[in-house]
Amino acid sequence: MKFNEWEERKKMSVSSFIAKLAGATALVGLSAFGVQAQTSGEPVKIGAIVSATGAGAGLGVPERNGLLLAEKDINAKGGIKGRPIKIIVEDDASNPDTALSKANDLIFGQKVQALLGPSLTASTVAVGGVTHANKIPQIAFTGIGPAVERERKCLAHVLPPQRLNATALLEYAKNIKAAKIGVLHDAGYGNVVMAELKPLADKYGVKLVAVEKFEIGATDTTTQAAKVKAAQPDAVFIIATSATPFRNVKQIQIAQPVIAAIGSSSYEYVNAMGPAADNIVIPEFVVGEDPLPHQKAFVELYRQTYNSTPKNYEAAAWDAAHIIAAALNKAGADATGEKLCEAMKAPYTGVLANYDFSADDMTGIPISSFVFSKLVGGKYTRTPFRVAQ
């Protein structure tokens, strides 16, 4: 190569080093000012599978946004030891068979070093066999699923297990001194959370005075809500992925405080609730309207890039990408298998929550990471309540 080109290259790698230093502490401001660290060389390939279409699109689309933003951010800060990271995002269309075939594609075709996602439990179960057998470290966007997942020591999760979600609901109930709880839940998501909630309720000394179920896609849950009302609870838990139960609860004038599981937190549902999106508390992690200090940079960057406010799933995906990038930086850009897996297993302070993949549940999110938001007049606000660790 010519001498001038070589000089140029030296200058660039020096400024890239400075940029990396600055970028490590300064936040997004750098890329906002257009100072980009340069990355070069063979990209480090990471695979990702999300449900960008189909029933899980409410999760997959925000996750994909988070991933792509993280990719830009990681590369802006120098990538993996100077090499760009490339996150190849595939859509499993909410179908586990598709997820499996995409996983095979990514692992054997693209030869990715790690896998992020999928969005749905069924897909995670389908894909887990392949990643486990081929020692591909994986960070899934679902909570922990069947028992077999606990055995897979290289499959981590950036969203809490349902047991933790259930605990958070009960912690808030304890906070407002609600001893009798009425529950309105759907037959899918609701069943899964209820399975964890029932045994925990005893531990918290809380009595479930009414547990009413409705089918997924139900157009009306008024009668079930009426049964909950008739049981005269101190507070009502709603565990659903639909706005309908929230509307019905307000329509029949249930005055008790409503606490909803994180599955209802997306703006899609809030908008569909209409005037019923009021006086509802949700244990979650990211309140874009009023972020915690360590979340502010992410929220700002997301706003500027996508012109909308991020929530939990965007942040979870962002964290997953950053965790794998950090692990690669630690173990080496070409690290794979066991080596990369071990590097992943360290406490990490993410935007969504604090993680520790060395924990038993391969998630390590503590109850103290939960932020309790409250819907007031259709808008999210952040309550000051936190659970002390």
């Binding site: 009413e212 157009t219 009306d220 009668t223 049964k227 509307r247 329509q251 004038q253 569909a272």
Partner: protein, 295 residues
């Protein structure tokens, strides 16, 4: 179980029942007039509701005009489907199965189109009579639900009057009973079939518009409504649109009573068991035989 809870269940049951009835009546009208089982009846509801939402929020029309616009949209889509698809297939002497496949395909396409153009969001409409509620012994029913019930009953009576007291209504019935006899009695049978679809589209759209303030409309609502409407129509006697009203109410009430009487987990099991029993005892549907006398 308190009286208040029973009353609340009745309120919910009747409200839901009328919605099922409106969808079912349109489905039944179409079957009666053309022997086509319309698997996309629920989509008319979504089209009507979405059109009203768009006219109200994007075009800034007054609510009454937007509702009329939504109903007309349903009617027009019905006419379009008959002219573009059904008529062609009828000329080729398509079987009832083929028509069913056609309407299933249309239902899926329409649902996907709505997802594409409008997105995943659910939309609400302002409730009639405002946000107010009527409280009877601790049981709550929204003013809008009362309006919905009243309009539903009105529509049922109007439909009966339409069929028997207007020339077009009689002609539509005649065309569906005996096409040759109707043609030689001066009735344009093809046009009557188009009107049948217009009527079905109109009723479906009306149901969708009325139910949206209560539960919101999104691209998935169509399929749910079609299933419930179909159950209502069959229960009432498929060829009698007025039977669908009875069928719808029966279904809505059975669901609600099953929830409070047995358990919310078994609501669907109980509801469908009851339906099966009714169908065994009355295979023509609740008003089925009356239907053979022109309802």
């Amino acid at each position: 179980m308190t009286l208040s809870l029973v009353l609340q269940a009745l309120f919910a049951g009747v409200t839901n029942g009328i919605v099922y009835a409106l969808v079912g009546m349109g489905l039944s009208a179409i079957f009666k007039g053309s022997r086509v089982i319309n698997a996309m009846q629920g989509e008319f509801a979504v089209i009507g509701a979405m059109t009203t939402v768009l006219l109200l929020t994007k075009a800034g029309w007054p609510y009454a005009a937007a509702i009329a616009g939504g109903a007309v949209a349903g009617a027009l889509v019905g006419a379009f489907i008959e002219v573009a698809f059904v008529r062609y297939m009828a000329k080729k002497s398509a079987s009832e199965d083929s028509f069913l496949l056609l309407t299933i395909g249309l239902a899926l396409s329409l649902s996907a189109s709505i997802l594409y153009f409008v997105g995943r969001d659910g939309h609400l409409l302002p409730p009639l009579g405002g946000e107010g509620v009527l409280i009877v012994m601790d049981a709550v029913i929204q003013f809008h639900a009362l309006w919905l019930i009243a309009i539903g009953i009105g529509a049922t009576l109007a439909l009966r009057a339409f069929y028997h007291r207007t020339t077009i209504g009689l002609s539509m019935m005649a065309a569906s009973i005996d096409a040759d006899g109707a043609a030689t009695t001066g009735i344009n049978v093809a046009r009557m079939r188009t009107f049948t679809f217009v009527l079905g589209g109109l009723l479906g759209a009306l149901g969708g518009i009325l139910v949206t303030p209560l539960i919101g409309v999104d691209y998935q609502l169509g399929l749910n409504l079609t299933l419930k409407g179909f159950a209502a129509a069959v229960l009432g006697g498929l060829t009698n649109p007025l039977g669908a009203a009875v069928g719808g109410l029966t279904l809505g009430l059975v669901e609600s009573l099953a929830i409070i009487g047995i358990s919310s987990s078994y609501k669907d099991v109980v509801a469908f068991s009851v339906l099966i029993v009714i169908m065994i005892l009355m295979p023509q549907g609740i008003l089925g035989r009356a239907g053979r006398r022109g309802g």
